[in-house]
Symmetry: C2
Subunit: 375 residues, 2 copies
């Protein structure tokens, strides 16, 4: 029997690797001969760089760049050893977390620093770029990245626009001829469109510092940007699901560079041949700190379940806590779900003993699985 | 597929019947066609009368009798409809719970009232008596029961002894000739011997009001009693496991009437044909408020597991909380164990939602079982 273990991390408690180890220990406490393949995973959101180092041969490359407000910083990206590819995280250079609250200004904030990282990767041999977006400080439609790669954004007088979403209302001409050819895949875990009430500015603006005064200007800027993309390419990006991710970054990269938009999980799964691993497994175990039927979008167990269902493989989720609407999870292919708790306990008690609880639960789940198979 | 559900009650939360219902609901939420046989059970301790009414055709018969201190009371026993048998609970007439703390006196307390109940059952056609012992207020070696049935206990002058363990030091002659023939099976869930440090008086005396001053007298009384049983029957009861149950009641009934001593679970299992039900099941689910590897004696899941193991049937335990040393439980035949908790919670939260938690856990356990069988 071959068991594939594909857990997420348990936030503030255990890394995905530690979770995978605990599950493997639980299974091996029942039968040390069972083949357990550990695949610590992630939903591809922030923090994917750590994960990449667990899953792939490669190295973190740290380069000089600038943050969203234009200040010099150093930021890492991941270069794969066995393919001409790099994984860049938008949040490393252009993230919100590193901008002090009183310095945040989405009118001026730019993704240019992330563009510099991508250019570095391309200059050093990468032909494919995986870009994880999420946690951005910006609302610039990705014009910063495009500028750093050689794109030109000018106004009606032919003057180059200043960086930041606040100036996109002035945009009159786009020129991306100088941007080199490369394969770009964008990992985005939201499905918001670019504009409107569910769009980039309205939904994600406030957390980046968009005030009610700024909002019309930024929305008008992205509207104008999208109009010029359509003029140039004859394709509309405004309604593409996910186009609103990271301040419209997904819209710009999809519209002007033809970037593929996919979930972080899908891209990581593709890179790691997860589907092949699932095909070869007799049982798949995934894990997540909390699971319920309400918040499915981008959740690792859901992604793994879809692949497991495709290949008719049993899949079980271990979770710190289980919420309601489980039928929605079952419908996606999850066969069963178990909480790791042994009895009533506080959150702190549970978090202090997460590894032991996961190990014991994996042991008991595997015992039942084995018993049922033999019965 | 046929599933047998044999749960205990969850103390202060749900009756065994309610637990069984919740488990059945959980299974039927997955597949309403599955045959689920509900067998709400008990370890045969106090409270078995309720259970008997769930498991068997019959009636509660309430008669006038006396309590352990000789006061008039009414107490029920269970008469089976389909066999000439009755189940009498020692604690109903001779229990400790109904004696006020300041009135407890194990020197004088007698099981006579329980004997009256047994006599009533015999007079009304019973040929088999099941006697559940536990929770007694007495230390009389069962001489009260035996007296009520026609036994004679006299001193060296031929005078009848007064009721209570305090007078057994005077015992010089036993006559049980007048006691009618009947089948007696005693349900006792402890394995203490009659005498000594692990004996009836030393271990269970204090909770009945045995003071350090009374103890030597009561111990000497049971010692003398056991000597006279041996004189009369040529068999020693002093070292029989369980002889110390209920103030030596088990010793007297085993020694003088040949009563079979068995666990409450074993007797209930025999009466209910549980073993046959297990043989016909594809999966057995039992449940208990708390389970661990330390406190196995007399626990329902352990009894059920032994029968399931004998017939190579998968058996799973659902528990409110799971303690340590699970390997001991696995060794007894339990295949796996699941806590009903969905996540960190207080004991009160768990007890307020026990039925829903059990239902959801049964659903998820059954889903995994079914998935594994098909895989």
């Amino acid at each position: 029997m071959q068991i594939l273990v594909v857990p997420d991390s348990f936030k503030e408690s255990l890394s995905a690797k530690e979770v995978a180890n605990a599950i493997a220990r639980g299974i091996h406490s029942v039968d040390s001969e069972i083949s357990v393949k550990q695949f610590p995973f992630s939903d591809g959101g922030e923090g994917a760089l750590d994960l990449l180092q667990n899953l792939f041969e490669g190295e973190l490359v740290t380069t000089s760049t600038i943050d969203a407000m234009g200040r010099s910083i150093k930021a890492p990206y991941f270069r794969f050893a066995d393919r001409k590819a790099a994984w860049v995280e938008l949040s490393q250079a252009s993230g919100l977390a590193q901008i002090e609250v009183d310095k945040r200004n989405p009118m001026l904030a730019s993704t240019y620093g992330t563009g510099l990282q991508i250019r570095h990767a391309l200059d050093h041999g990468a032909e494919e770029i995986y870009l994880g977006i999420g946690g951005s400080a910006t609302n610039d439609g990705g014009t910063g990245i495009l500028s750093a790669l050689g794109g030109l954004f000018s106004d009606a007088e032919g003057e180059m626009l200043l960086p930041g979403g606040g100036f996109l209302t002035e945009l009159d001409h786009i020129d991306v001829e100088a941007i080199p050819q490369f394969e770009l895949k964008v990992a985005c875990d939201v499905s918001n469109p670019l504009l409107g009430k569910q769009g980039a500015t309205a939904v994600y603006g406030p957390q980046k510092g968009v005030t009610p005064e700024m909002e019309p200007q930024l929305e008008a800027g992205l509207t104008n940007f999208s109009k010029h993309i359509e003029l140039l390419t004859q394709k509309s990006v405004a309604e593409v699901p996910g186009a609103g991710a990271a301040g419209g970054c997904a819209a710009g990269l999809h519209g002007l560079l033809g970037a593929e938009l996919a979930s972080g999980f899908e891209l990581l799964a593709e890179l790691s041949n997860l589907e092949l691993e699932i095909k070869e497994a007799d049982l798949v175990i995934t894990a997540e700190g909390r699971i319920d039927g309400q918040s499915l979008e981008g959740k690792l167990p859901v992604g793994v379940a879809k692949l497991a269902k495709k290949h008719h493989k049993p899949i079980v989720v271990l979770a710190g806590s289980i919420g309601g609407n489980l039928d929605l999870l079952y419908a996606l292919g999850i066969n069963s779900i178990f909480s790791i708790q042994n009895g009533p306990c506080t959150l702190k008690e549970s978090m202090d003993n997460t590894a032991e609880l996961i190990e014991s639960t994996a042991q008991r789940v595997f015992r039942l699985f084995q018993t049922a198979r033999k019965s």
